[in-house]
Symmetry: C2
Subunit: 135 residues, 2 copies
């Protein structure tokens, strides 16, 4: 799903087996209690969507933790069925359970429908998300 | 410094001693190898600036790690002396050393001079930074 995306297709490599780097990254996420990677599954266990959330400790806001959500994807064939909405509702609940003060995420300016999706969930567009590539 | 700021003054509490929540947050940052909190010091050890960087594992970009920088502050009395610039140069070098693929950060839309500062360092303003408060 990360590769099957107008932006992602240029930066992912699909092979069988997958590149070892993907497995290594998965293990790093699984080993870190501050990182959560969830998938949405169909009854037959087909993966329909994914989402990663990272909980970051910080001094600001009186020492509050905050959550960052990235890599939200839903299988193209299953869009419009509230799968993304359900994953986000789960993540918001999990961030509350972990007593996070806020949830942050970056949305590429080209993803207009994603921005509307997050706005409907209550996300405010008050910040610029700036990026520095290191290649 | 987090409190001595037009946005921060409304969300921090300065007391002597500081709220226990600040010490708890500091300990959580110090205990996590994926979190780095640095300070810029004068020769007399006075703290002039601070910066936090979090390194996040992820599946995207072929399993690349990325860094998120937050809570960049410089003492008002010491601005214009390239202290922020030096801290950012250090953080960029540290992110490269940790083989991060990119560095991300959020800048509030009201912080126009901060946006220009990061743009001069090469950061691109290609994303919206959206936030959901959880209070």
């Amino acid at each position: 799903m990360l590769a099957d995306d107008e932006l992602g297709k240029e930066r992912e490599t699909l092979s069988e087996p997958l590149l070892p780097a993907y497995f290594k990254a998965f293990d790093a996420i699984a080993a870190d209690e501050r990182n959560v990677l969830i998938v949405a599954e169909a009854p037959d266990s087909k993966v329909l969507g994914c989402l990663q959330m990272t909980v970051i400790p910080g001094l600001g806001y009186q020492g509050a933790e905050r959550a960052i959500i990235e890599d939200v994807r839903v299988d193209k064939a299953y869009r419009g069925r509230k799968i993304g909405h359900q994953m986000l509702r789960w993540a918001i609940g999990e961030a509350r359970r972990r007593q996070c003060r806020l949830i942050e995420l970056f949305v590429h300016e080209k993803r207009a429908s994603a921005r509307r999706f997050y706005a409907r969930l209550g996300f405010k567009d008050s910040h610029a998300g700036m990026r520095l590539p290191l290649e």
